[in-house]
């Protein structure tokens, strides 16, 4: 089963309008999956990760139902066919 990213509205300018992106292959970790996403849609990955490769502070990445911020971060291992959601945190003013 392919791994699938859910792309939030503000980033769909960079995903050809797609709300979901399926990755070919089976990335082992979240970092691998983001690399693969970046190869397809660099504009999405560049706005999820900063130029040092860190997840931007107000972005939450969920693998299945778990926010990786409270787990293994980019090293999170991906179950086969999992869904990865990119969600802006409830930050602002």
């Amino acid at each position: 089963m392919p791994v699938r990213f859910f792309v939030p509205g503000p980033l769909r300018d960079f995903s050809g309008g797609l709300a979901q992106v399926e990755l070919a292959g089976s990335p082992e970790t979240l970092a691998d999956a983001l690399r693969a996403l970046g190869a397809l849609y660099p504009g999405v990955a560049k706005r999820v990760l900063d130029e040092q490769g860190e997840v931007r502070p107000h972005i939450n990445l969920f693998v299945g139902g778990d926010c990786v911020r409270f787990g293994d971060g980019l090293a999170t291992r991906l179950p086969d066919g999992c869904e990865i959601a990119i969600l802006p945190a409830v930050s602002g003013g």
Binding site: G9, L11, R47, I59
Partner: protein, 392 residues
């Protein structure tokens, strides 16, 4: 969630444009030379803060630059060549620190076209404090390593807005000279095209530092100068107005006549090198107009004396604030002067500051204002090019 796109605002030769950055997007305003009425467009980049905007009218361009920043998705540099109808927004943001720098871009604070005879050079000042430069009109950018590797940098400290490089002054007479200011850190100048930089803060007092005359660490809020007199600089410090007549080598205080020497913006008149505008605020602990009266102060004699300009501005119980880049002058005659406030008001004067009126109200907090005389910019470029050819 598709955000609405703002309508474009095509400008014609002779129009005056106001580029207004706010905490929740950018707005464009246009008037003819009378500046009696304004059309507006916006918000562009709704929901994003825009701390820097710029206009590049060199080499036939009519390019508006804007630096929208999202708390979520980061900061980027966008350009429009059709007055806001389309904004170019590359997949890979134009400005990013190299991996070796070990930091990530937080915000873009300044967009400054280079000299007229180097029409493809553009500069950006960013947070954390650093200078980026493009030599291809803004498509690709590189970090100025000389400033980034300066030994002082580790001891620069962020001000209330962050550790930002907010002022970039090219020198019309010396190609290799560039002056920047960072808060805090102070004024730095290169005379070798950016390879090496020297602190230029001699004479600027900083009560928050122990030293009497510190080499660096000053909290410079803004530096301004007239292009015809590049060695005469005016500076708004955290406390204190200063003037330099030697390109920043030495500074002397020039605060006589203002009700407070604290404030942020500093703007030089488009034709009169000794005419300067500031907006005093009570103090760093209370960043509101003294006595609740919003007043612009203007000197016409190079900061020997200052005169309040209050007609049309609120003179009772005003608790508004004008940030460092939220004031600008157009190139018309008489000059138009404009400023935006944190309470979302945009004021304008079309008589050089003698009287003011609201240009726009109920905007988000205003972070930057840039006034552009569309035709005038083109005419002056052609004139300068002609002069340059004759001189050569």
């Amino acid at each position: 969630m598709d955000l609405p796109k703002a309508k474009p605002l095509p400008a014609r030769d002779g129009d005056v444009l106001l580029l207004v950055g706010t905490m929740k997007g950018a707005f464009l305003l246009r008037s003819d030379r009378s500046r009696r009425g304004w059309d507006s467009s916006g918000p562009h980049f709704p929901g994003r803060s825009v701390y820097a905007m710029g206009y590049d009218g060199r080499s036939g361009r009519r390019r508006i630059w804007a630096a929208p920043a999202s708390m979520h998705w980061g900061a980027e540099l966008c350009a429009s060549d059709d007055f806001g109808r389309n904004w170019s927004r590359p997949e890979t943001p134009r400005i990013a620190f190299p991996e070796s720098a070990g930091v990530a871009l937080k915000n873009i604070w300044q967009i400054e076209p280079g000299r007229d005879d180097e029409p493809d050079r553009v500069f950006c000042g960013v947070e954390p404090s650093a200078l980026f430069e493009s030599r291809d009109g803004g498509e690709t950018w590189s970090l100025n390593e000389g400033l980034w590797n300066h030994p002082h940098r580790a001891r620069w400290m962020p001000g209330g807005g962050g550790l930002c490089l907010h002022t970039i002054l090219t020198d019309p007479e010396r190609r290799d000279r560039l002056t920047i200011a960072t808060s805090t850190g102070g004024v730095y100048r290169t005379d070798d095209g950016g390879k090496t930089w020297q602190a230029r803060n001699h004479g600027i007092q900083a009560y928050f530092l122990k030293e009497k005359d510190p080499e660096f660490g000053q909290c410079v809020h803004k530096v301004a100068r007239h292009p015809s007199r590049p060695d005469t600089l005016f500076l708004q410090h955290h406390f204190g107005l200063y003037r330099s007549d030697d390109g920043g080598d030495t500074w002397r205080e020039a605060s006589k006549g203002v009700p407070s020497d604290f404030g942020f913006p500093m703007v030089v008149h488009p034709r009169e090198p000794e005419t300067v505008y500031v907006v005093p605020l009570k103090a760093d602990q209370f960043r509101c107009p003294p006595e609740g009266k919003l007043r612009v102060y203007r000197t016409k004699n190079g900061a020997r004396s200052w005169k309040p300009l209050a007609r049309g501005l609120p003179q009772e119980d005003c608790y508004d604030t004008v940030l460092r880049d939220a004031m600008s002058a157009d190139a018309e005659d008489p000059a138009g002067v404009y400023f935006g406030t944190r309470n979302g008001r945009l004021y304008g004067s079309r008589d050089e500051g003698e009287s003011w009126s609201l240009v726009a109200d109920d905007l988000p907090p205003v972070t930057c204002v840039r006034a552009v005389s569309v035709r005038r910019a083109a005419a002056s470029r052609a004139k300068k090019r002609g002069r340059g050819r004759r001189a050569a």
